[in-house]
Symmetry: C2
Subunit: 115 residues, 2 copies
């Protein structure tokens, strides 16, 4: 099973910014950025509280082209689309990640200062 992702050329600046303009999704991106290169199982976000709510936010990020999700059984492995975003909007992801660095993670049991 494959989930739909926009191709790099279709990643739209207004859509990316709108999707990033949410504290929960900024928390997810900041968390993924701290583990960059290591696909993160979506179950790691389940402390968010509601699986439905989490699925909604992860779908928003994927559909905007911010993240890539690989289906693995009942799980999804999530990564940032660093190369595509850097190519489309140089510097944007880094400035957002830097700004979200001290963003309180919306997940119970996660340490915002974990490195």
């Amino acid at each position: 099973m494959f989930l739909p992702h926009p191709v790099a050329d279709q990643i739209n600046l207004a859509t990316v910014l709108a999707v990033l303009g949410d504290p929960t999704r900024l928390g997810i991106v900041a968390y993924l950025a701290r583990r960059e290169g290591v696909p993160t199982n979506c179950s790691q976000f389940l402390d968010l509280g509601s699986k439905t709510n989490l699925s909604y936010h992860l779908a928003k990020l994927r559909e905007a082209g911010v993240t890539h999700a690989q289906v693995l059984g009942t799980s999804r492995l999530i990564t940032l689309r660093r190369d595509d975003l850097d190519a489309r909007f140089p510097g944007l992801l880094d400035s957002v990640i830097a700004g979200a660095r001290d963003f309180p993670l919306p997940f119970k049991g996660m340490d915002a200062r974990e490195s």
Copy 2:
């Protein structure tokens, strides 16, 4: 008459991104960026079509801390809050402006390539 503006420390990343995540507002920011240092009279945006719609978008930008508006009679002089945004989120405004450079301006009679 003074319009409310957030102080620099209160400018919130999620709010800024959400407000920038709109094609009309990106067009306004791209236009202001091309005239940086020169306050832009809000009437220059009136080709947008609806004064109400324009007022809404300009208020959103001001309330998020992206722009400063100075009341001058019945007009407002609009500028980007470049220094505050650069201090709070280094590189963010430049990457957004670069990404919005070729953004089609939503205003009739404005040339997107005007320099």
